[in-house]
């Protein structure tokens, strides 16, 4: 019997394994689940797992391997933006289909990729709104790892804060290398910056591994969430499971999903996950939900299209809706990004988040930021007649699109 092949392109070794392995397991769990439901189009699903080993060129190579050698029908993969950028030309050349489940800096929309993680307007902007309105924050530290996601997000936030009337000297920006582990000076600077008598908050786009030492240093230098709250965009339940969260209670994170959110679907998902992975202590997180939504949407789209043919599925995907784990319904928009709700959670001492704020309804993901001069006129629309990822609403043309 023929199968439908699902490629899994997540690093299982190297620096990113820490985050991506979970997503590999999530896809395997979804494939299992789908097969138990009878597969798709009467065929079984078969997962093809490869390890791109946190090596960016290897991502491209493995994507090519999946598409040409394994002939997979869809790929779930990537975490870092650079890996996605590396894979992008390959999926476009070979007309593959990829689901990308991680929050990212936006500024991209490809016909062959569906972005189920948050774009900056679904994470960063609401978080800043919350801090400004509810916590009356007036002074801002934008701390990030030095790479494209934080750089872009901070650019957007800077522009956004300035339009909201924050003075330049009330914004401090600090970048650190990947895996930075000595935060003494920076935390001390933050402390000083925050002692000017105005309520101060840190907006953290610090990546993965650097977070643990960062929070440890915060706690030890006595920066409590009540004095200077930190809102993070890359710290979820999984990251917290590696930290002693006692001293971090009250710091914040903005996501489209928290494990702690009460809903039947979520409870089922969490249980299913714990069972699948065989560990009661394992947690779920936002990229997992994004994978979950992406996978289910794809399955729905394949049923709808009646084929796994990429062009048909791509068109069928647009407008597909699927219930979020947190209640409400996610919808795939014309720009290949999702509409999802946004939550702000506070860290609890059990390593979970307590939602303290949420958007009224869903927020539609922007492929192009309204706050960057280069892209405020761009939109992505993969339906006729525009059918392009970077349509300029001023010049009424797709910039630089190779046909």
């Amino acid at each position: 019997a023929e199968t439908i092949k699902v490629g899994v392109l997540h690093s299982l070794s190297g620096t990113m394994a820490i985050s991506e392995t979970t997503l590999k397991d999530t896809v395997l769990m979804m494939v299992d689940e789908q097969n138990r439901k009878g597969g798709l189009l009467g065929k079984k699903l078969e997962a093809v797992v490869v390890d791109p080993a946190s090596d960016w060129p290897l991502f491209a190579e493995k994507a090519r391997e999946l598409l040409t050698k394994e002939k997979v029908d869809v790929i779930f993969g990537c975490w870092t933006s650079v890996s996605r950028k590396s894979v992008l030309p390959v999926v476009e050349e070979l007309n593959g289909l990829m689901f990308y489940p991680v929050q990212y800096e936006g500024e991209e929309s490809s016909k062959n990729v569906f972005y189920t993680g948050a774009s900056p307007n679904q994470q960063a902007i609401p978080a800043v709104d919350y801090l400004m309105s509810d916590l009356e924050v007036e002074r801002w530290v934008l701390a990030g790892t030095d790479y494209v996601y934080p750089r872009t997000t901070n650019k957007i936030l800077e522009a956004y804060l300035e339009t909201s009337g924050v003075a330049k000297e009330d914004i401090m920006i600090s970048y650190t290398p990947f895996g930075h582990s000595d935060w003494q000076s920076i935390v001390s600077d933050i402390k000083k910056f925050g002692s000017a008598g105005k309520k101060t908050a840190v907006v953290s786009t610090i990546n993965g591994d650097a977070n643990v030492p960062f929070y440890k240093e915060l706690a030890n230098q006595g920066v409590s969430s009540e004095d200077i709250p930190v809102v993070a965009f890359s710290v979820g339940e999984e990251e917290l499971s590696g930290i002693d969260t006692g001293p971090l209670v009250g710091h914040l994170a903005a996501w489209n999903y928290f494990q702690g959110i009460d809903s039947e679907a979520n409870e089922y998902f969490v249980q299913q996950w714990k069972k699948f992975i065989g560990d009661e202590k394992r947690v779920t997180n936002d990229p997992m939900e994004a994978t979950y939504i992406g996978f289910n949407m794809w399955a729905k789209a394949v049923e709808k299209a009646g084929t796994t043919d990429v062009d048909s599925v791509e068109q069928a995907m647009i407008g597909i809706e699927f219930p979020n784990l947190t209640g409400g319904v996610a919808k795939m928009n014309k720009n290949h990004h999702l509409s999802k709700p946004v939550f702000i959670g506070e860290i609890q001492d059990d390593g979970q988040f307590e939602v303290v704020w949420e958007t009224d309804g869903v927020v539609a993901g922007d492929a192009w930021s309204d706050f960057l001069p280069g892209s405020k006129d761009l939109i992505a629309d993969w339906t006729a007649p525009i059918k392009c990822g970077n349509y300029n609403t001023q010049s009424k043309a797709c910039s630089g699109q190779t046909q």
């Binding site: 650079v82 790479y147 910039s399």
Partner: protein
């Protein structure tokens, strides 16, 4: 049983031909050319259904392997023959790659996502207003190539000149090279550098007007890579077999003695280092269009260490060993990551351990052992022992 053994011996002897002056050259060159030409033809001429069809994936993979082989050879020339253990050769490779990447970036022109004809995408969305000066001229292929050679060459020259003049040797030199590539990695990670930060340069469209996604371009790139590898191999072989090569080995074994014979050993080392850096740069230049991305990760010290490992697996001090080692390890990596994604590191790690323990001189040593008839097989073990393993000083031995 005995037929198996004779067959094996014949095979080994056949491999051993690689190392014989003259004939070895033609064998390796021949094999490389025949294989790549056959692959190219199979890709372009046969229909995809044919069992003999070679996919573009394989072509690209092969191209990448050959670039790595060239890099490994570059390392072997200075390490195997001159005893300079560079733990930072990835730097030259990456610099070459960035040179080529800049050219390819400029070729995108206004086909980038923002449609800006002058600025690469990453500059547009980080709000750069104009092209930095060091990007000028990089839209010309010849100029880009020149820069991509000149920068690594110059860096190698300055670095080598400083280091060898002050007689930095052994691990001290190795760690210096490592610091060099590490510093470059951190620098290239910085977005302010204007090389795309962590994301590096990507989304290339075409090279010299040929579409990079076209099969024919990929095949052409493979063939060019093969050709360059063959040329580099022949040149290097000529060098190591000349008197220059003998001086270099002499420098490796007893630099002081060579100096007392009147050889300015630091000059030999500098020029060899520059030569090796240039080969690495060429490898990097060929690598980038084939894998489609260049980013600061290539500067990572661990990458450079891996190259050293390829050379050691293949057999240090034999040019063909470096090539075979690079091909083998990378092939193993490709296979293992697909066959056992969760456990491939066990396999690769074990491979390294086993090779070291059981094949003291790498695969090349294995060939030797089965084919040794000449004196070289009986290398002086005594010499190695008597330096007492004070490797702290004698790592270059």
């Amino acid at each position: 049983m005995s037929t198996v053994k004779t067959a094996a011996q014949t095979l080994y002897r056949w491999f051993a031909e690689f190392r014989q002056p003259g004939r070895g050259t033609s064998w390796l060159v021949g094999v490389l050319l025949v294989v790549t030409l056959a692959m190219s033809a199979a890709n372009l001429l046969l229909p995809p259904e044919s069992p003999l069809y070679v996919s573009t994936y394989t072509i690209t993979l092969m191209g990448k392997y050959l670039c790595f082989a060239m890099l490994a050879m570059a390392v072997d020339i200075i390490w195997g023959y001159c005893g300079i253990l560079s733990l930072g050769h990835g730097a030259f490779f990456a610099l070459g790659g960035y040179g080529m990447g800049m050219y390819l970036m400029r070729q995108i022109g206004d086909r980038g996502v923002y449609g800006n004809p002058d600025l690469p995408d990453f500059m547009v969305f980080l709000n750069w207003q104009e092209l930095p000066w060091y990007w000028f001229g990089m839209d010309q292929f010849w100029f880009a190539v020149l820069v991509a050679l000149a920068i690594p060459g110059l860096l190698a020259f300055v670095f080598g000149w400083l280091a060898f003049r002050s007689r930095v040797t052994g691990v001290y030199l190795s760690i210096m090279t490592q610091a060099l590539t590490y510093a470059l990695m951190l620098a290239f990670f910085r977005n302010e550098m204007g090389f795309g930060g962590n994301n590096g340069l990507t989304d290339f469209k075409d090279i010299l007007g040929f579409d990079l996604q076209a099969d024919s371009t990929r095949v052409a790139l493979l063939l060019v890579t093969t050709l360059m590898l063959v040329i580099a191999f022949l040149t290097s072989r000529a060098i190591v077999q000349s008197r220059l090569g003998r001086v270099i080995v002499a420098v490796r074994d007893s630099e002081a003695r060579a100096r007392f014979l009147g050889y300015r050993t630091e000059r030999y080392k500098v020029w060899l280092f520059v030569y090796s850096a240039l080969i690495a740069a060429v490898a990097g230049m060929l690598y980038v269009p084939q894998v489609g991305i260049i980013n600061p990760g290539e500067f990572s010290p661990l990458n450079s260490i891996e190259v050293v490992v390829w050379v050691a697996v293949g057999g240090r001090g034999t040019l063909y060993g470096a090539i075979v080692g690079a091909l083998l390890v990378n092939y193993a990596k490709t296979r293992f990551t697909a066959l056992m994604p969760d456990a491939w590191l066990f396999a690769l790690g074990a491979l390294f351990v086993v090779v070291t323990v059981y094949l003291p001189r790498g695969l090349a040593g294995l060939f030797d052992r089965f084919t040794s008839t000449n004196a070289e097989a009986a290398r002086p073990e005594r010499a190695k022992e008597s330096n007492g393993g004070l490797s702290t000083v004698e790592v270059s031995a």
